[in-house]
């Protein structure tokens, strides 16, 4: 219960094509994350799945049933929004109950599900409060609870952590991950934060400018990105891209992740000047202006002292260097 299939979905707003033909298969129980920069169409795609936007062409199938023309409430989905979107005039309990009441569930069943959901999310003390009397984290838990009680085939999350502060974000992320493990439900999650994508997903869908760039498990994307865009988007700090010609290589671009570079004050392949260092405690980011490679970032584990202006040599790990052709595709 809870598979999703998207067939060649396109969406245009007037002359602007937001989705340019999306095909996607989501298996039952998978946690799929749509990730991409702002304006790549990930939220629009989620809205098309939810039925809040009509696709210009293409089909959406939930559990092999064509739901392209089905209204959102009948699709068996539940959605958690970035701004929580709780009904301000209803108590937490009524917020959770509303959808079930609309669907005509018996009162005993509604009560049972609310009790179960509020226990799972430790919301019992707040059931009688209104959203205005709750903190941001509590509100988002209520929104998740409202999705839970519907027992949907698909959970849709639209950047649910963006409005929370950093500490709460990590906690809530953990809760969502645990929830997925416990419910074994199919979840689709939209975010622009690649850390959320990497930590939560079974499968990441990288979107850019209305197209899918690559679909794969987090480590698959990290170790073998299909193209320059995915290589640059996954991983933090961003992968260094160096013009192939400057390194005397036949390919257009050479990419190496900051953590796959080593530095040495005496000898190495790329000589450079230290521009700036960022000390994060667990690791240190050194920005080097290299003669051959231009400005690159090197991530060194542990504390490393490098004075701005001093000379350092950077050496890429040859086994973990990526090469891209003129179209940005990875050269194997």
């Amino acid at each position: 219960m809870g598979s999703l299939k998207i067939e060649n979905v396109k969406k245009s707003f007037g002359p602007v094509d937001v989705l340019k033909g999306i095909d996607l298969d989501v298996k039952d129980g998978e946690f799929v994350v749509f990730v991409g920069p702002s304006g790549c169409g990930k939220s629009t795609l989620l809205r098309v799945i939810a039925g809040l936007e009509d696709a210009t062409s293409g089909r959406v199938l939930i559990d092999s049933q064509d739901v392209t023309a089905t209204p959102p409430a009948k699709r068996g989905i539940a959605m958690v929004f970035q701004t929580y979107a709780l009904y301000p005039h209803l108590t937490v309990r009524d917020n959770m109950a509303l959808g079930l009441k609309q669907a005509g569930e018996p009162a005993a069943e509604i009560e049972k599900r609310i009790t179960a959901a509020s226990t799972m999310l430790s919301l019992e003390p707040y059931l009688k409060r209104r959203p205005a009397e709750l903190s941001g984290g509590q509100r988002q838990r209520v929104a998740i609870g409202r999705a839970l009680v519907r027992e949907p085939k698909l959970f849709l999350f639209d950047e649910p952590l963006s409005n929370l502060d950093a500490a709460l974000r990590v906690n809530t992320r953990l809760e969502i991950a645990q929830l997925h493990r416990r419910l074994k439900a199919t979840m689709i999650y939209v975010t622009h934060d690649q850390v959320e994508a990497m930590t939560l997903a079974d499968k990441i869908v990288v979107l850019n400018a209305g197209r899918i760039e690559q679909i794969g498990a987090p480590m698959e994307l990290y170790h073998s990105p299909a193209n320059e865009f995915v290589a640059g988007f996954i991983g933090s700090p961003k992968m260094n891209f160096v013009d192939g010609a400057r390194l005397g290589e036949s390919v257009k671009t050479v990419g190496v992740r900051p953590e796959h570079l080593t530095v040495d004050p005496k000898a190495g392949s790329w000589k450079g000047t230290v521009v700036h260092t960022e000390h994060l405690g667990a690791d240190t980011n050194v920005y080097l202006d290299c003669e051959k490679a231009g400005l690159i970032t090197v991530r060194i584990f542990g504390v490393y002292d490098a004075e701005p202006g001093s000379t350092l040599y950077a050496t890429p790990d040859a086994a973990r260097t990526y090469r891209f052709d003129a179209d940005g595709k990875t050269v194997k």
Partner: protein, 279 residues
């Protein structure tokens, strides 16, 4: 006010300016009310002094209640104002919701067309309106007034409300859709409560011109049964003799209902005015 921003001369200055403005604004009302309690002679001899035991006279009020059917006039004014207000708010909010929520061909043009009424005074169409009312047999009915006032109030209502409705979170409406609420439920249960301050603002701006209007009652519904208060007060205005006591008393009485309506809306209104500034 916090200590850091308050300085005595500035506070005094601000209060002085505000008090002066309040006095200027309230002065005509004050003169009308005090003179309505005075005898005819006293009104002309000392128009600015409050009634003293010597000059105190309720003749104006007794005339108003004795002559003409003032309770009926009040009732007419009340019906016309409240019903028009209801329709303006209902239709205005619905149109504003459609304009701000749905993408359809001609959305912007429709919005401009509906807002056109703000720029063109409805009184320019009086002759056509009168012909229309005569043709449809609505002359001398309150329905005629209600229809005209609804049309008159709609443009501003749509203009103000659609701006406010654009500010209502899309996520909230979408959450309602996923929970299976109909568009009507979303409109009445989710959106309307959130734009209540704007509704109050529109209500006050719509209500006062309707209550005070003389033009359309005079032209469309001058019969005894359909007179409004402002029109009813005209019977004391003669070409040669004017019964000032009665007019002032009628006007003083006419302030009351609108004041009550205003007080009902005003708490919301203040929130409406400040809603952009303070979250």
């Amino acid at each position: 006010m916090s200590k850091a921003t308050a300085s005595l001369p500035r506070t005094i200055g601000a209060h002085a300016i505000l008090l002066t403005y309040t006095i200027i604004a309230l002065f005509p009302v004050f003169v009308v009310v005090i003179n309505s309690f005075k005898s005819r002679q006293a009104i002309f001899q000392q128009p600015l002094t409050p009634p003293t035991p010597k000059t105190f006279d309720l003749i104006g009020y007794t005339t108003v209640f004795g002559q003409g059917d003032f309770f009926l006039y009040f009732q007419n004014s009340m019906i016309v104002t409240v019903v028009s207000l209801f329709f303006v708010l209902l239709f205005g909010a619905m149109a504003a919701f459609a304009l701000s929520e749905y993408r359809f061909r001609g959305n912007t043009l429709m919005g401009l067309y509906l807002a056109l009424g703000i720029m063109i005074p409805i009184r320019l169409g009086t002759v056509a309106i009168l012909q229309l009312m005569v043709a449809s047999g609505l002359v001398n009915t309150l329905t005629a007034l209600i229809l005209v006032y609804t049309a008159q109030g709609l443009p501003l209502a749509i203009f103000i409300l659609s701006e406010f409705m654009k500010g209502v979170s899309d996520d909230l409406k979408n959450a309602g859709r996923i929970d299976g609420l109909s568009e009507y439920t979303i409109f009445f249960r989710l959106v309307l409560p959130l734009v209540r301050p704007a509704m109050a603002t529109v209500a006050v701006f719509t209500m006062i011109p309707i209550w005070n209007d003389l033009w359309f009652p005079l032209i469309l519904a001058p019969s005894e049964a359909t007179k409004t208060v402002t029109l009813g007060a005209q019977i004391f205005l003669g070409q040669f003799v004017t019964n000032w006591n009665a007019i002032l008393a009628a006007l003083s009485l006419a302030i009351l209902p609108v004041l009550v309506l205003y007080l009902i809306f005003s708490r919301q209104l203040i929130r409406g005015i400040t809603s952009g500034a303070v979250k």
